[in-house]
Symmetry: C2
Amino acid sequence: MAGEHHNHGITDARDHLRAHSDLVLPSVDPRSTPGYDGDKESGAADLIAGLAELSEFQERLFAAGQKGAQDSVLLVLQAMDSAGKGGIVRHVVGGVDPQGVELAAFKAPTEEELAHDFLWRVQKRVPRPGFIGVFDRSHYEDVLIGRVRELAEPDELERRYGAIVDFERRLVAQGTRVVKVMLHMSYEEQGERLMERLERPDKHWKFNSADVDERAIWPAYQYAYQEAIQRTSTDEAPWFVVPADRKWYARLAVQAILIETLEDIDPQWPRAEFDVEEQMARLRATM
Amino acid sequence: MAGEHHNHGITDARDHLRAHSDLVLPSVDPRSTPGYDGDKESGAADLIAGLAELSEFQERLFAAGQKGAQDSVLLVLQAMDSAGKGGIVRHVVGGVDPQGVELAAFKAPTEEELAHDFLWRVQKRVPRPGFIGVFDRSHYEDVLIGRVRELAEPDELERRYGAIVDFERRLVAQGTRVVKVMLHMSYEEQGERLMERLERPDKHWKFNSADVDERAIWPAYQYAYQEAIQRTSTDEAPWFVVPADRKWYARLAVQAILIETLEDIDPQWPRAEFDVEEQMARLRATM
């Protein structure tokens, strides 16, 4: 059960987790639980409590969007393999009405996608008004694997940082709150999670031998993340670095970030666009 | 709590609810609970119990689909306004991993959609292998409102019945289980639900004065549903008429239909496509 001191989950999660242009990624402890003094058990209870709150906000957001409000939320999830993106989608986003969620999972780009600018496929999947959009991987892959695997020249990477900031600024100006989360897992924890996938036959389908190859260049990825976050964390579209070695904490933290973002929007039930009494009378005549 | 007699939810739900070419819709009591002798309380408990089962099947289906299996499920939901389609999506489909669900809500067709054959927009939204697709309204609107509001000539309606049967047969041949559900609500119950929307300011956004207009021609819709179901309920793509005056029953019934459908597929965890020992050794070398 939730104790008295943390029955509201994490307070001011965004302040605790916000990453700025001076981020030093190794200074964030992947096992830490910023802003939360509860344990796994209380964390699970607080997650369930928060779900009701998130659900109500989501429904209001959707309702307002159906009646002309322009607000939406875009949650961008980035992380190394096995850091828990899927668990966030399942246990945080999965708690709200699927009718109000637009989920986009970006894989390696197709030939058609590669023929276009890197933002082309992403722009098509931004959430409509009233929706919570989730990017499971995103345009950030193009400055992460793009950099680490030298798929792009340094000049092109520079251009992309700028293009990303501009793109997200335009999104925000149109009414989309852009919230970017890096799930920050330790090298040791990833080793254990990948080993678990190998030990359990029902997890074999999630294992990819390329994950071990990428692991061999872990520091290059960490550096690419740090650089990408430094270059693209703006007041309009902030990055949050969420310690993710404890899955329960990461879920609670992303839930809290979403709830705080929706609190800012404060979506309201739309007023009736019809005369309620008149419609009641019409309806009564049919009963 | 679930009692001893119904702790597995509805047994053989599909047999109880299957509609054939001789369907007489008024013979189905919207308040009945075919195949279930529990009450609202046990129904809610059984729904939660079934969720775990449905979730596991869905994950297996998804995993198999990632590794080449062609199976998928398409749930088509049709009903009069306020019958509870949204609740099915929220409480039945919403219980499984959103990463394995493709939800398509079909509204009044756009100009572009109207310029194409009525199946054009629908074909684009069929589920990929491994996914559970849900159509919230569907191509059936084109033989329901299409018929009632005389948006199509009788010849064209005839053509559409045939085109639907052919289209669904092709889908099934490609590996998609097509499951069609009509939520069958009484006229009286709809009156109460629409009145509730008018009485609650947080429900006003769901109310549409056109719902009262459609209500005035309720029998025409019932007849159009009966005809559509008679003409398109095939062994490959059966219709189920689910009594829906009790929301808890309708949810339990649709969940049971989905579980039985997935039991037929019996998706298996894919075998590893790599040498497990070899990958373990590689991974260990990085730890």
